[in-house]
Each structure stands twice: as structure tokens, then as C-alpha cells.
């Protein structure tokens, strides 16, 4: 770790529209160092990595690699400087064989007289898998239909095949099984021994402390601290990630579950192939029921399945107040359910349409007059009402959605459901990618909904959020519910994390 500085970043800025993704970031990476980047969703860690890897160009600031100015204009350019990255969501090309995928974009080096020598290519690919001790997939088979883990290995081999000095890993471990995680750890150690450098992003704080030398914590695009992994604790990092607003009026202050006995939703033996298995639970009026689990535990499938968007192989979703089994989303809508999905821009909103059209969408049936008339005045009135009640910052309801900031988008997204007469509200990561102020706003709205006796299902990747808001918490693992914890029981992160792993 005392090695020379291999990568230096000075005053890096990057923004998308009105929001800063990275703000004045400084960072020094040395040879033989394994660096962790950590922060909540939307804190800008992936953006930072992407700029190093040449996917985005910074707005301002400079980077130096081995003392030389470095401004990669493409991932290929970054490769030339000895930097390669395994991206979180990139993946492989399904209609090409595994071997070709390893060298895609560089197949020219195996061409003889215009014809690519697939044998030589596969041999070289096999050599990479062997060299780094990675499990080898069948190289001649199309990657379509291969497991995520296998495809991740192909990506890893691809990143390693340029023999990089700096390896960037964005959430690679979460898609790997235990034995392959060990292989990855060994690979990271080897990089260290070879006096090269690795930058790792992972949500698993414990894992990060275990495998890194130093950890850089980001919040709202800024570096808020740098700690030595050997000298830090889970709590310290978590504190740094969330900031000072962790406690107090932000979340709920009370530690007792408060809800009525009236059951609103009863889910029984619900199974969705490859997603959920034998899920049973009840939600009560005025209750906030939290769901948490690791990234592949299936918590996000819960929202979809309850709202009738999945095809369950067995089990029932029963809406008690109307005594109806829910089989489809239109049915869920008609039975006083609301659903705020995780991916706001792609699943929840019509971002090219205006605020009015987005606001009224779930209420069209109620706004319908005689002969199916949707009176424009009525629609505008409703949209205006939402705008005022949830203080959406906009020039008017005729403004298109994409002109709003993430927080204001989310206000419309949530507000249009709360403006309805709901019995059950499903929230999937409702505070994803919004700033602290809007977060507090959303928590306040959730408390209000609770007071109005609305049953809430809160699904979240952020444990602190679920712990802060839920009356009861269901821990999931591999598509099953493994544990139920009440607010007045052992309602701490340690106990929940213990159940999650």
C-alpha cells in the first residue's frame, strides 16, 4: 500500500441535468491497493467508476494515470491505459458464443485473411479462464440461456483479457455464488500481489471491509470520508453513508407497532416460478409492513406479485375489504390498491407526457362522468390538487415530466396514489435517487397514510429505511420469507443482517 500513486483524480465534477452525480471528487489510488467505494443509491459511486472506465466524460476536473494526464474518450481508450471494468448491468451479447464474447470488439486480432480463426480465439479465451482460475463456460455455446453467474464470469474474463493495471468491479459479487465469490477474492488478492490496483463497489459493507484496504464513502455525489478498512467498523461506515439525519424526526421515533386488527390483504402460499416460493403474510389497516433481503432475495417480486403483475403458479392474493382475489393489475387498481414500482422513469411514469396526464392516470375510472366523459376541467383540477398538496416544484401541470428533478417526479408519482381513496399502498424503494429533503417529505407522507389507516407494504434495499418506518419486518432469502420481526422486538440492523445472509 505504500506503492506509487497509479491513479489520481482531482476536482472531478459530473452532472446529469439539474442533479450533480459527482461533485469535486478527489481520489488517490496506489499500486497494490484494493479500494472500496461505498454510498447509498444515487450517491454517485457508479458514475465515478464509469468516468474512470471511459463510459462518461467528466464535466470538469482532471485524472492522472501513472502521472500522465488521462482523459479516456471510450472504454477502449481506457483499456489502452491499462484500465478495465466489469459493469453492474452490462452483460453479454446473447446471440454470440461465449468465446467470441470474451474478445468482442477485438476479434480482428484473430483474423487471418479476413476470416476469424475461432479455434485460436477460443484457445485464447480458455487461456484467460485458466490464468485467473475462473470456471470456464462452454465457449462455443451462445450465451443466451446461460446463468447470470456464468455470464458474469465471461465479462470478468473479458475485462482481464487486456491484462489491466487497474481493475474496476461494480457490484460483481452480488450475482455470484459463494464458491465463485471466493475465486473472485483470490483474484483480487493476486492483483494486490502483482502490485496492481482494484476498485470495488459492493452493497455488502462487511464484505467490503474484509476485502479492501481502504474505503471511500460517497454521499450525494461528494466524497465524505476515506477510512482504512482495518481500522473501521460497520457502524462508522453506515454513519458516514447516511449522514447526520439518521435519527430524530426523519424516521419514526416510537418503537412500538401500532396498527388495527383489521386485515386488509391476505397473501397465502404465493409462488411465482423462479421468483417467489410459498409466500404467506397479512397486512393490517394502518400498518407499515417492511420487506428486506439481499439483492436476489425476491423482495421486489413481492410488489409485482401482489399487484397482479406476475403469473403465480399457486397461491392467492386476497383483498379483504372487498373480498376479492387479485389476479391482474386492473383488478388491483379497482380494489383500492396502489403501486409505486422501483424504476420510476421506466415503470412508473410517462416521462415524455405532462404532469396532468401522469397525475390522473390511476384515477381515470373515478373521474369518468356520464357517457364515459373525462372532462378536461376535472382532470386539470385533480392534477392541480396533487401539485399543491405535495408541493411539486413546476411551472404548471402542462409541463412535461422530464423537466422535473427526481424528487419532484417522485412527489407526482406518490401523490397521484395518495390522492385516491386507497386501502393498500405498495412502495418499492420509494426514496431511490431522491435527495434528503424529499426523503424526509416522503417519510412524512408515509406516516400520514398510516394515520389515515392505509395499509402500506414498504420494500426497500435500504435497511435503515425499513427499520425506521416499519411496524413489522419480513426478512426474505432466496424467494422465501425466513423471519418476521416486530418493531418492539430485536429491531436492529445486526439481527436483521444476521437473518438476511
Amino acid at each position: 500500500m505504500s506503492g506509487e500513486v497509479i491513479l489520481e483524480i482531482k476536482g472531478l465534477n459530473k452532472h446529469f441535468g439539474p442533479t450533480y452525480a459527482n461533485k469535486n471528487v478527489d481520489l488517490k489510488l496506489r499500486r497494490g491497493e484494493v479500494r472500496g467505494l461505498i454510498g447509498e443509491n444515487g450517491s454517485g459511486k457508479s458514475t465515478l467508476l464509469s468516468q474512470i472506465a471511459g463510459l462518461y466524460r467528466p464535466d470538469s476536473g482532471e485524472m492522472l494515470v501513472k502521472g500522465e494526464p488521462y482523459a479516456p474518450h471510450s472504454p477502449i481508450d481506457a483499456n489502452r491505459h491499462g484500465i478495465s471494468m466489469v459493469m453492474q448491468e452490462l452483460g453479454v451479447v446473447g446471440n454470440l458464443p461465449a468465446g467470441v464474447n470474451v474478445f468482442l470488439g477485438r476479434t480482428g486480432q484473430f483474423a487471418k485473411g479476413g476470416v476469424v480463426d475461432l479455434n485460436a480465439l477460443n484457445k485464447a479465451a480458455a487461456a484467460q479462464f485458466a490464468k485467473w482460475d475462473l470456471p470456464m463456460p462452454p465457449l462455443n455455446q451462445l450465451t443466451d440461456g446461460m446463468m447470470i453467474e456464468t455470464r458474469k464470469m465471461i465479462e470478468l474474463a473479458r475485462a482481464l483479457s487486456i491484462d489491466p493495471d487497474i481493475l474496476l468491479l461494480d457490484e460483481v459479487t452480488q450475482s455470484l455464488s459463494l464458491n465463485n465469490r471466493d475465486k473472485l477474492y483470490a483474484l483480487i488478492r493476486r492483483f494486490k500481489e502483482m502490485d496492481r490496483a482494484v476498485v470495488v463497489i459492493t452493497h455488502d459493507i462487511e464484505e467490503m471491509i474484509r476485502i479492501t484496504d481502504t474505503i471511500t464513502v460517497l454521499r450525494d455525489g461528494e466524497v465524505v470520508g476515506e477510512v482504512r478498512s482495518a481500522e473501521t467498523t460497520l457502524d462508522e461506515i453506515r454513519m458516514m453513508m447516511v449522514g447526520r439525519q439518521v435519527s430524530g424526526e426523519y424516521y419514526r421515533a416510537d418503537m412500538t407497532p401500532t396498527y388495527s386488527d383489521e386485515v386488509v390483504l391476505r397473501v397465502k402460499d404465493l409462488s411465482v416460478p423462479h421468483e417467489l416460493e410459498d409466500i404467506s403474510f397479512e397486512v393490517h389497516a394502518g400498518e407499515i409492513l417492511g420487506f428486506c433481503g439481499l439483492s436476489d432475495a425476491g423482495i421486489h417480486s413481492i410488489g409485482k406479485a401482489v399487484y397482479g403483475l406476475s403469473k403465480p403458479s399457486k397461491g392467492t392474493v386476497h383483498m379483504v375489504p372487498t373480498d376479492t382475489d387479485i389476479h391482474s393489475a386492473p383488478q388491483a387498481l379497482a380494489n383500492f390498491m396502489g403501486y409505486v414500482p422501483k424504476d420510476r422513469d421506466n415503470e412508473a411514469l410517462m416521462i415524455h407526457a405532462n404532469i396532468r396526464d401522469n397525475s390522473v392516470l390511476p384515477s381515470v375510472e373515478e373521474l369518468k362522468g356520464k357517457a364515459g366523459l373525462l372532462a378536461p376541467r376535472k382532470l386539470s383540477r385533480m392534477a392541480e390538487g396533487i401539485r399543491e398538496r405535495f408541493s411539486v416544484k413546476t411551472t404548471g401541470v402542462g409541463q412535461t415530466m422530464n423537466a422535473l428533478s427526481g424528487g419532484n417526479k417522485q412527489k407526482v408519482n406518490l401523490g397521484r396514489w395518495l390522492a385516491k381513496d386507497l386501502k393498500l399502498l405498495i412502495l418499492d424503494c420509494p426514496t431511490r435517487g431522491v435527495d434528503v429533503g424529499v426523503k424526509a417529505n416522503i417519510y412524512a407522507l408515509m406516516k400520514e397514510a398510516k394515520k389515515d389507516n392505509i395499509a402500506t407494504i414498504l420494500i426497500s434495499d435500504e435497511l435503515t429505511e425499513v427499520l425506521g418506518m416499519a411496524d413489522r419486518l419480513l426478512v426474505m432469502k432466496d424467494g422465501r420469507i425466513t423471519k418476521e420481526i416486530r418493531r418492539d422486538e430485536d429491531f436492529t440492523e445486526q439481527s436483521v443482517i444476521g437473518e438476511m445472509i
Binding site: 458514475t47 386492473p330 415503470e347 410517462m350 415524455h352 407526457a353 392516470l361 373525462l374
Partner: protein
Amino acid sequence: MKKGFDLKKLRLSDLVPFIAFVVLLVFFAVATGGKMFSSYSLQKLIEQSILTIIAASGVLFVVAQGSIDLTVGVNVALSGVVGLHVAQVTGIGWLMIPVSLAVGLLMGLLNGVIVAKCHVPSFTLSIAMLIGVRGIVNYIQTIVGVEYVPASMTFITASGVRIAAFFVLLLVMIYIFEFTRVGRYSRAIGENETTARFVGIPVDKMKILVFALSGLMAGFGSVFSIAAVGGTTQTMGSFLEMQVAMAIFFGGVLVTGGSSAKFYKVILGSLSITIIVYGLSLMGMSESHISQSVEGILLLLILFITILTNRQKKLKTEHKEEA
């Protein structure tokens, strides 16, 4: 739908169809030496655009959802030929109308089910229907030949009756598209189908519904077409699907549908197309090939302009989505 008329809020992309319409009008008025504005010409113009507008008012729903229905031409032919033949065979003249409508509706329904339930892209389906159904129509016509409106029904050939019926139908369609949930949900599906699904809109049902509606309007179209000509023809409905698609896109509706789909655009676009075709024929270029190439070039041009005027705002969004 607008809350007051604010000039500043008018987007360039909304103005394109108006500008195109005025430019075409002025151009042909000058080029034909004013012949374009004779009362005879104007009446002709309206009559010629009736069929396009009727068919387009159904297809608009499909386009709003981001799909395409290029089957209206063959549908007009099929429903017209079958309807008239049934009327002739049974001797009951009025049967031609309900039978035509039913055939149109059924074919639309079939399209809708294949697109919504079997996930066949609407374009592939359209192309297949275009050839398959035209084959059936040709086959039927080789057997039954050209037929004429039965004596009991000749009143529909009067232009007054047709125009009155046209306006009633038009108002109904405007109402459905602009002021009911069918139109609203269709635009939502075009904007973002996933969102529509996740909110709880019955997407599959809406898809089937609008294809059926489009088919029904083609059924109406066949009655109008027969009424205008006095009977079936060998080329009945041919090229109509293109006329309709051009009218819709000419009016400034984006191919991806959504909020850009507005009814006034269809009327403007249909009139523009008719002006081009009729204007060219007034200028002595009636042969289909010349007007066809002019239409082709204009279509490319107008699509390009529509996309260009919409591009600025789309580009901005894409950047933000990355964040």
C-alpha cells in the same frame, strides 16, 4: 384539452401540420391558377378526404398505442365485397351495412388478438394480412365479379347523406379519442407500455379493442367507398392503408404514438394528402406514378421535420435517464 390558449406554450412540433397544410394550399392555389378553390373542387376535395379520415380515425387509436394497422385497405375491400354480396344474394338491401361492419370488426378483432396475445409485431402482421386478405378478396371477386348497390339502398349514394353520416361519425370518434378513457389509455400505452401495465391499465384488452375499432371504422369505410362509387371495384381499398398512414404521420403524429397523437392532426393530415393528390391531378399529373413519388418524397420530408422538431426535448431526457 388546453387550459386557455397560450401562444408561448405552442411547440414548433404542434405547428408543423398547420404550416404544411397552409403551404400546400397556397402552393396548389397558385400552381393551378385558382382552380383549386372553385366550389366544384372544394366539394371534390371534401368527398375525397372522407374515406381517408374515416379510416384514419380508427387507425389513430392504434398509432397512439405505438403500433400500426396497415390492414384497413384490404379490410375495406373484404368487408365491402362480402357485405354487398350478402345483400345481393339475400335480396335484402340494408344487410350490406351491418354485414360490412361485422366483417370489418371481426377482422380488426383478429388483428388485435394476434398482436396482443401472440406478441406478433403489428407491422409484420399488417404485411401478412395485406397479402393474405387481398388474396381472399381477389378470389371472391373472381367468382362474384363486380357488384352494384342494390336499388333499395341507392339513397346512400347521395352526397348529402354521405356527408351528414360522415360528420356524425367524426364527432363520435373525436369524442372517444379526446374525451374518454379509451383514448387516454391508448396514449398512455404509446407513451410507456410498462407504465400503463404497472398502473393497472388493461393493456391487452385495450390493444384488442383499438384494433377492433380500427376494423369497425374500415367497415364503415367500405360502406362509404361503395356509396361513393356505386358498387365494388377491383381496386377497392388498395393503397388506402398508405393514404391513412401518411395522413396520420403527415399531421405530425409521431410513429411512437403517445401524447403526440391528436385528432386534429389526423384531419389536417388527411386534407393535406388529399390536396396533394387532387392538386397534382388538377395540374395534369393525374397518372398515379408521379403523384406517388411526390407523396413518397413529401412523406419522408414531413416525417423528418416532425422528428427533428421533437428531437430536442427527447435528447434532453435521455441524458437525465442515465443519472
